[in-house]
């Protein structure tokens, strides 16, 4: 300072070099100030740009977060809906299975109902007449129309003579059937045992053996037999009700034949029942309860 003072002298006595120096300094200072200001302005602008960029980034991130949340919500909703859809599909499958079961059961019930109708009609027809001729006709019609028999014969069994006597038939020429000796063979076996013999598969039958041999039995004794040779051409297999029809013919057919034959001797209902009362005394009732003691017995 003292050196400068010594160079510049007292105030007010500025030398031109000093003034120039001062002016240069001031100019330099001002330039620096301008430069600094410009730098500051530039920096400020950059910071503002940076700030805007960050704000934009911030906004973008906020939007992304919001969008992620929406996606998360959507994914949750999709999961929930998929769960519901799976439940519905599973329920639908259950219902389909149940519906199929019901359909099958309904068809089965319908079939059983039809079978019962056939059996009812058969039983009704067998017991609807007391004329031996009509009973025989009914037996044949049942075999023809309900079983679908094309060629068959009904034989009366004469145990005394060991013979089967033809009563009626379908599909045979008149006089084609003659009395048959019951020596051996399937027919004799069925008459002896009273057990029907039916080929399982009519389409693949054993030739030379009747398709079905149905004994008409009372108290274990065979009184007649149906020999079924052929079914109608369009019937290739047994129906579910055929076995029951054979059993019904075997029991009701036999009693219907005996009842009709006994009634034809009596001529009137009154005379047919005239001896009924005497048959109801306890001794006869006891005898009737014991199958070994019973006769052919109606």
């Amino acid at each position: 300072m003292s050196k400068r003072e010594s160079r510049t002298g007292p105030p007010g006595s500025d030398r031109p070099d000093l003034r120039a120096e001062r002016e240069a300094f001031v100019r330099s200072f001002l330039r620096k100030g301008v430069e600094l200001t410009e730098e500051l302005l530039k920096e400020n602008q950059e910071l503002q740009r940076e700030y805007r960029k960050l704000e934009e980034e911030n906004l973008r991130l906020r939007n992304q977060i919001a969008s992620d949340g929406a996606i998360r919500d959507l994914l949750e909703r999709i999961d929930r809906l998929e769960g519901e859809r799976n439940n519905l599909m599973s329920r639908s499958n259950e219902l389909e299975v149940s519906s199929r079961k019901h359909d099958a059961r309904s068809r089965q019930v319908e079939q059983e109902l039809n079978d019962l109708a056939s059996l009812y009609v058969a039983a009704y027809q067998l017991s609807a007449s007391l004329s031996p001729r009509k009973v025989i006709k009914q037996i044949c019609e049942l075999v023809e129309q309900l079983v679908g028999g094309e060629r068959f014969a009904l034989y009366l069994i004469s145990a005394d003579e060991g013979q089967a006597l033809p009563l009626d038939s379908r599909g045979y020429e008149p006089g084609e059937l003659a009395p048959m000796a019951l020596a051996d063979g399937p027919m004799a076996d069925v008459v002896l045992t009273g057990t029907e013999r039916v080929q399982d598969d009519p389409a693949n039958r054993i030739e030379d053996v009747p398709l079905a041999l149905v004994p008409l039995t009372v108290n274990g004794q065979t009184i007649a037999i149906i020999v079924l040779e052929n079914l109608l051409p369009h019937k290739h297999a047994w129906a579910s009700v055929d076995a029951e029809l054979f059993r019904l013919l075997g029991t009701l057919g036999a009693t219907a034949l005996i009842a009709a034959n006994l009634y034809s001797d009596a001529h009137t209902p009154g005379s047919a029942l005239s001896t009924l009362k005497t048959k109801l005394d306890p001794k006869d009732a006891e005898r009737a309860m014991d199958p070994a003691a019973a006769d052919v017995g109606v």
Partner: protein
Amino acid sequence: MMRQLIVFALSRIKCIQVTEADDGIVGLRELNNSKFDLVISDINMPIMDGLKLVKRIRSDDRHKDVPVIIITTEGSNEDRERAMALGASAYITKPIQAPQVIEKVKELLGI
């Protein structure tokens, strides 16, 4: 017997009222006295058989559009063809099965 089975089958269809006739003549008389939507007839009947009945029904303007089902025996093609030629609408072969009858009747009545 067959009639009983057919009546049973028809009883399974709701809103159907059945009138039975013993033979073709009685059937024709019933047909002339009331209005029927469908006739089912066996081909074999006493007095007037099914074929004659179809012929008579078709020759009468009042009944010419009434559907007629013929029950044929033993799958006889000849009888079936004759019945159809005379104007039968359909046929059913024996042995009678209720579902077969129900199906044909529903088909012809459009129910």
